[in-house]
Symmetry: C2
Subunit: 192 residues, 2 copies
């Protein structure tokens, strides 16, 4: 749930209180009638850096936010899938791209928007890609041609930079934190 | 949100429908009155293997589920923290344990209960620990004394086995999937 809840999802009462429940240490949305607690937790995103003959697969976004900017295929994890399955699914949905020789590449936290990005590295099977419904174009782009001024998200830029500097990790995994982009504020909270 | 929602958290109507929203591919809980979609996503857990003079910190659980069994300190990630901050907080809450030289050790998916475990490795600062409110005991245990028949969760057992076989990863991160324990079924869905 991304928006602030207004009614209790268990009893329907419009009596939510934002306070620390008994025995807890953090404020939650708590129903004043039935006592139900609405927990809100970070969202996991998974995606991949896909390489083919020295070029990297980038997708031009056909959806908000960051419409028209370039990104690596990635998206929110669904219930009942693994992190790796999510990365494979997103590559298929956004770029009709199959991954070979997949390996975990990085795990980054974005605490200002309560997201975690698990990015994989792999080979783009057969070099084949075409846009899915969320992409207007998909392209295999040489490192020197990456459109650095038109990358959609800081965490994607960070992963591209890490890959170009260090190559695939071969079992080594980069970790870190992405701070808010100056001027971005909390805007991304409900839109990313 | 762990329980099945019964009322719309945006308009309070008791008219949720479990179906595929327009433009989506998966069934969601969707409000038949206002159209609000309740997304439910996997939960991230973080914790740590803490070592001191060849022994590993284990906590005896003072809470359900798996009351009385042993575990590594770990727990659900909160909004607006990093994965590493979550691991540090859980070690402090469950075992009053500070981590030195922290590094990511493993990333495991538990798709049957829609959880992801990020486990770190580090040194237990000063070898100091005492139980927090969720633990009845905390102990530094030699590898040969680990109570394998009383470990609370399969993902904790897997991490202990990986650590004993391979040691700290020094940048290499183990990845994998934990399947349901025979007989456990979906019981853990709302209790873990």
């Amino acid at each position: 749930m991304y928006a602030k809840p207004l009614y209790c999802p268990q009893c329907g009462a419009g009596s939510l209180e934002y306070r620390i429940p008994p025995g807890d240490t953090k404020r939650r949305n708590l129903c004043g009638r039935c006592g139900y607690i609405i927990y809100q937790n970070p969202l996991m995103v998974a995606g991949a850096i896909l390489e083919w003959e020295g070029k990297i697969l980038l997708c031009k976004r056909a959806i908000k936010p960051k419409f028209g900017l370039w990104t690596l295929p990635a998206g929110f994890m669904e219930n009942h899938e693994t992190v790796e399955e999510c990365a494979r699914r997103e590559c298929m949905e956004e770029a009709n791209a199959e991954i070979e020789d997949i390996q975990l590449f990085s795990l980054y936290s974005l605490p200002h928007i309560s997201q975690i990005y698990a990015m994989y590295y792999g080979t783009l099977a057969g070099g084949k890609t075409e846009p899915g419904p969320e992409s207007s174009r998909t392209e295999l782009i040489a490192p020197e041609d990456i459109p650095w001024d038109a990358i959609a998200f800081d965490v994607i830029r960070a992963n591209l930079e890490l890959y170009l500097e260090h190559g695939p990790g071969n079992g080594r995994v980069h970790t870190g934190t992405i701070a808010p982009h100056p001027g971005a504020g909390a805007q991304a909270e409900n839109s990313a």
